[in-house]
Symmetry: C2
Subunit: 218 residues, 2 copies
Amino acid sequence: MPRHFHEELDALKQTLLAMGGLVEDQIRRVMRALIERDGDLAQEVIDRDRQVNSYDVEIDEKCVELLALNQPAAGDLRFITTAMKIVTDLERIGDQAVNIAQRAIELNREPQLKPYVDLPRMAEKAQRMVKESLDAFVSRDTELARRVCGEDADVDALKEQIFRELLTFMMEDPKTIPRAIRLILVSRFLERTADHATNIAEMVIYMVESKMVRHMLA
Amino acid sequence: MPRHFHEELDALKQTLLAMGGLVEDQIRRVMRALIERDGDLAQEVIDRDRQVNSYDVEIDEKCVELLALNQPAAGDLRFITTAMKIVTDLERIGDQAVNIAQRAIELNREPQLKPYVDLPRMAEKAQRMVKESLDAFVSRDTELARRVCGEDADVDALKEQIFRELLTFMMEDPKTIPRAIRLILVSRFLERTADHATNIAEMVIYMVESKMVRHMLA
């Protein structure tokens, strides 16, 4: 039943995009929680991680079922096994949103150290990379995937800039250290989010070109 | 050709264990490089990451081939798809060793801040978790896998202890901040190593019991 199979594949793509949308929204919300010092919103992000995890299970099950009940040809086979890996990256991006939410709640216990300028920019970039990497996957678009890989350097540069700035705060006034470290950690969680998006993009290139780009770009 | 298929599966297990051994050795070496302030050894760890990446490609290819050329039954199918996910975690543990190596090289530019006591303990625990999680996978041993999940709390406790201690250093003498932050990052990389081992262990329980333990334990 090849037609049925391709309908199932399409449904899989849709579910994966829905999971991606949820995860992007988690990043968007957690950054709002951080910037607006909204502890309730941060807690909501933590609670909503369960939905991210349900998607992980649902997609994983669906992929195994598709493999078990059909004998997908090489291209579809690789698409399904790639989907299984991508879902793990998405789930871990969700974990980064939870990590940021926990730091946001801790940061609320003290006055704000400084206005956040680079962190929101970093989050925006990371979020766009997540979206683009998934778009690249469902449309097997290696050009877009390569662009995502290129964007990772911008995120790393922002991370370094944030680090240097916070280091200055800490050196000048040791009282700022606990807050500065939490903000450094937030920047690291955003970096990891961008890394996961890059992993997804590299897997897309690999899937389409079946060349080993993943480690050559690293 | 079911017999041939099971020989292939056994070979896959062996390759996965070899990759695991290499990754464990990378952690062992990078910690020696850190403690003995051996920049050459740290550089070797960075260079050897290529071998880790080759294993990643090799095992991934082998899994896709096994899926394409056979119609594995449900149990074997899940074993192979789990192997594909595990290999990604192993590859990322290798990345953590590289991250630590880079911090070790940076730390060598300044005098040592303090003798390292908890970091080696943390590394030992993380390393054992990696080994046990893979042993649990190849022998489908859920009891061992559950033990690995339990050990993650010890690693987190050590991470918190290291953080508190280094915070004291930084508060007392701001000149120690750059070094202390590098050491905090090393502890985070070890924590991520343990997290990857926990991910592997959770996937093993899921594979064997096909119940969703992964997110209930989290």
